[in-house]
Amino acid sequence: MFQSRQPEPSHRPLVPVAIATVAAAAGIGWLLQRAWKPKGDRNHRAAQALGAGAAILCVSVALDSAIEHYRGEFKDKAMFVGPTMALLGLGAATYVAFRPERASDTLPKIALFAVGATGLAGLGFHSYNILKRPGELDALNLFYGAPMGAPAALTLAGLYGVIAGEMLSGRSYVKSRLSKHTAGLIAFSLMGTIAEAGLLHFRGSFQNPAMYLPVPIPPLAAISIGAAALSPRATAAAEPLLKATALLGIAGPMFHAYGIHRNMGGWKNWSQMILQGPPLPAPPAFLGIAAAGLGILPMLKEEQK
């Protein structure tokens, strides 16, 4: 009698949902890859990819910070700065993605630097927000205080844009070092995003097994692209791993949409769950970073020749 009154067991639909989500994400990824038609030489294509990656990061940050700062009721007027600058970054990075040869012009460069600097300032604000809470740097405040990853992503977006401009500057270090340093930066970016996703999925006690997906795959991608900076042979491993990471970036919002559905009231209760459920716009950060990484792989490969 009590058996029939139990709610739907949460594990039952997980396998089909996970398979359908990953399949749909793979389809979208394939279409994106088909649509991606970069022109020019390797440097040019890398610059375009860095611009596109920065633009995706900015979309993620703009939506995420707009939602989260709305939740915080914009109590501090400075909370308008993050989403606004992310939009500015989106504009600048999109411009760079289409016209990388213009990325070093004054206007986009100033915009990209400003966006990057805003991210650093945001990192300061968010650290202060965490440290001023009772308990200071404890797990509870890292879980529920202002997130560190979001403003850092803004800084990365600015950096990617600036690097895109440098790629085409013709300076001597572009050929010798820039792609390797960029690979290191991308590995570092991935590790930061993994820390954020890992922390929050741990907070959610991995209640859906799919929450483990961003735990092993992106770190392997980070290691492989880090290795590719040192030895071009590692690019062979980096490519599928970065593609898998990009796939997670596309599948993430779908999984999170399912997470909202599984919450109390589901999508009918969107006004609470957009804020309290899993964040819809956060996972595409993986896609942005992976896109930038995939863009510079050909440059890394070239090094060995």
């Binding site: 939740r71 009721e73 969107w270 006004s271 309290q276």
Partner: protein, 203 residues
């Protein structure tokens, strides 16, 4: 006691009825509470009328055209013998405590004033209830039933509990009713979700 003014004069929790805040289960529970006020089944007519008079002093509702029904729900609890699952060690079981307590208040009143509780002035009623609360009563009438315990644990707690189970009382204190399915996203001090009550300055 009197002079209370709600800081939420424009807030009506029932406006949540068709909003995402409530689902069918919540609506059904609230509907039952509003529409299915139970009839008298356990208390005698005298006990019922005495209890009405007492409740009117514990939770006066002079400003309400339709006061929140309280006695019917106490009677319902007694009829179903829905105890809280425990019993105070110095008191008899719930039903017996209520019958003996109410009868003792009636006898105490007749003994002192020669008339029924309902016929007393509000001041006299308050004075008598205060004496019951503080055990200043005729022990011969009450026997081993502790008057203060009956007043606090049965009379007062049940009355206030039932009063604040009613949507009109929720509106008055700006309470959102069942958070089912929609709860609250902004949980910190001085934070408020858009679907929460907003007080106005009543001063």
């Amino acid at each position: 006691m009197s002079g209370f003014k709600t800081p939420y004069p424009d807030y009506h929790v029932l406006e949540k009825w068709d909003s995402p805040s409530w689902n069918d289960q919540t609506r059904e529970a609230v509907r039952q509470r509003l529409d299915e006020v139970p009839p008298r089944r356990f208390l005698s007519e005298e006990q019922w009328s005495l209890l009405e008079a007492i409740v009117a002093r514990l939770v006066p509702q002079p400003e309400r055209a339709e006061p929140v029904p309280i006695v019917p729900w106490i009677d319902d609890t007694l009829h179903k013998n829905e105890t809280p699952g425990y019993r105070y060690a110095d008191m008899p079981p719930m039903r017996e405590a209520w019958c003996r307590g109410l009868d003792a208040i009636a006898a105490e009143t007749r003994n002192r004033h020669g008339k029924s509780f309902e016929q007393l002035s509000p001041e006299q009623q308050d004075a008598l209830l205060s004496d019951v609360q503080h055990n200043r009563v005729d022990r011969q009438i009450w026997g081993d039933l502790p008057p203060g315990g009956f007043f606090l644990h049965h009379l007062l707690k049940q009355t206030v509990g039932i009063y604040y189970s009613h949507p009109d009382a929720w509106s008055e204190i700006g309470y959102g009713g069942p958070a089912s399915p929609r709860g609250y996203a902004r949980l910190g001090p001085d934070e408020r979700d858009p679907w929460e009550a907003r007080e106005v300055d009543v001063a």
